[in-house]
Amino acid sequence: MAELEAGTTAAARRPRPLSPHLQVYKFMLSYVMSGFHRISGFVLYFGVLLIAWWLIAAASGPNAYANFEWFMGSLIGRLVLLGYTWALLHHLLGGIRHLIWDVGRGFEPTEREFLALATIVGSISLTLIVWVVGYLAMGGPR
């Protein structure tokens, strides 16, 4: 009982959280990343068309495959692929972040901000690594 009372007074002295307001809102990377997860999921939804095109082109024959390769080799194709790679890796890391939350961990403010930062830094670094390895696998840019 004594413990309970001590707990209550301590809680009463703690500053209560203020209700959020659109214009008075502390910037948090975590809520930006939350939006990014949905946007990347949405982008990937239509990005699956690229994978389908690739598979169907390969199954259709050399000419269809050459068309696919031509588009992916163009500047626009390269940019689309770069965006797709980043969306995929960002969503992958963001998804892992969600799964960490699902098992009840990572909710402390510092942990949340760390996870958000790790998602964005990790997805950009991984994208660069994948592209460098990709170009090396192809034998240099062309």
């Binding site: 699956v48 389908a52 169907i56 390969a58 495959y65 799964l99």
Partner: protein, 129 residues
């Protein structure tokens, strides 16, 4: 039986909820997300190792059993995952009943078309003809 523990008591009793499916979609979204981690890494490795190869080589590698099976698993898992995901997004943003139904239906058509077209392509690469 583990799965049942995540269902709310009301879901077990009535099998209802806003979407009449209780927490099933939520749970399946988690299952497909966990599966998506290794499958996505595998996809990236497969794509990198095929970059710059001739069409004949790509056909041979994509059609080989292990690669084809991994690609099929990726496609099927992703299809279900993205179907649930987009349904969630649509329900959040589209409130007018008829439009919502049109979008939900469009989501289903799109996902089935993509999944079956991709799966067909993989099978054709494997079995030739």
């Amino acid at each position: 039986m583990k799965q049942n523990q995540i269902l709310t008591p009301m879901r077990r009793v009535r099998g209802l909820g806003a979407a009449h499916t209780g927490t099933q979609n939520f749970w399946h979204q988690r299952v497909t997300s966990v599966a998506a981690i290794p499958l996505t890494i595998a996809l990236i490795i497969i794509v990198i190792s095929l970059l710059g190869r001739s069409h004949a080589a790509v056909v041979q590698i994509l059609g080989s059993p292990i690669v084809a099976i991994v690609m099929l698993l990726f496609i099927i898992n992703t299809a279900y995952h993205m179907w649930i995901g987009l349904q969630e997004i649509i329900i959040d943003y589209v409130h007018e009943d008829k439009l919502k139904l049109a979008c939900l239906m469009g989501n289903t058509f799109f996902v089935f078309a993509i999944a079956f077209a991709s799966a067909f392509a993989i099978l054709k690469l494997s079995f030739g003809v």
